[in-house]
Symmetry: C2
Subunit: 207 residues, 2 copies
């Protein structure tokens, strides 16, 4: 599917066909594509919990204001961000070193820069959310290209979800993302504000 067509067609789904599962291979491919998103220094702050078992999705639904899509979608991703992922930058860059894109000295330099840049907890949290959102957006467009639908959600209890699904304390839930085949009744993409209301040239005074 063409990129611009996918961008123009994609809409947040609420209705999923509970009778059409996704294979583990499909779930893995969606995540592999999501990790192609960029991240600061290639830190790759994103982590993904795939909730696929019916009984687990029912539990998750109970922690998400009983929204039916959580039980109906064959997979619900809990997209997480690691605010301290920069501490493992050297590991994240091992592939780049092996590919000959950088050497150990460059990795050391970048790790030092990242440590300075993310000393502040707010900067850590902001970056975990930014990277998680990049990955989630990429996953949504990949799903669209695969004939699937997705519906990003933040209406859930993040602490209860962490506890129920044994998510490590350091990780921040960025959003939940049910993915599957569409059932009838989804809205089309809703109209957006006119471009001139959200875009300014030269200076931002009118924004």
């Amino acid at each position: 599917m063409d990129v611009l067509e996918a961008i123009r067609k994609r809409a947040s789904a609420n209705k999923f066909d509970p009778a059409r599962p996704l294979s583990e291979a499909q779930v893995r491919e969606l995540v592999e594509l999501a990790t192609r998103a960029p991240s600061s220094f290639n830190i790759q702050h994103w982590r993904f919990l795939a909730v696929t078992r019916k009984e687990d999705r029912e539990k998750l639904k109970g922690l998400a204001y009983n929204q039916q899509k959580v039980a109906d979608a064959p997979v619900v991703f809990v997209v997480l961000g690691d605010p301290r992922a920069h501490e493992n930058l050297a590991h994240a860059l091992e592939g780049s070193v092996k590919a000959g894109l950088m050497d150990a000295k460059a990795v050391q330099g970048l790790s030092g820069m990242a440590a300075g840049m993310y000393a502040d907890p707010r900067a850590q949290r902001d970056e975990a959310i930014r990277s998680g959102a990049f990955a989630a957006m990429t996953l949504m467009l990949a799903a669209e290209a695969k004939g699937l639908v997705a519906g990003p959600m933040i209406g859930f209890d993040p602490d209860a979800v962490k506890k129920e699904f044994k998510i490590p304390e350091r990780l921040i839930p960025v959003l939940m993302l049910p993915v599957g085949y569409a059932a009838p009744g989804n809205w089309p993409q809703k109209p957006r504000l006119p471009v001139d209301e959200v875009l300014a040239f030269h200076d931002g005074a009118k924004l």
Copy 2:
């Protein structure tokens, strides 16, 4: 261009051809596509400042650790997020009402829900960043489809950029995004961590 090809090929660019400008129509089309991203309640927290004049990009470069790409790229977007955008939800949904997708009563209900959900300043900031990142990721893939390259950046002084470019106090800089035609010397997409290191099924204990 195919969605999956764009996702697999896109890489953060550092080298832009300063001799190839983008038209105002190209800039507007990229932003129009970016606004197709989803946002909570369709609030559309994103705002875009397009810095296109050479002298302005030189000023911006000085506020971004003198990174040359800021001066070379024909347009640098400052992607902003409005943490209080939910206060204008009724306006953001006018198009949906006109299109017959919802009525005034539904808008009132959603506005009340959003007011509750975003009472907390941290939730406001998180959402502004999440939505801005969704829009920026969509813009990067749209740029790829158009034969352009983009390089997301957070290495800049957000307060100084706001002051210099008359950006309203309430807006949060989410990132800067130089966009243009590639010059030689860009890296390919760097290798990512293996999927099994970032994905868990059923519970998140191993993440």
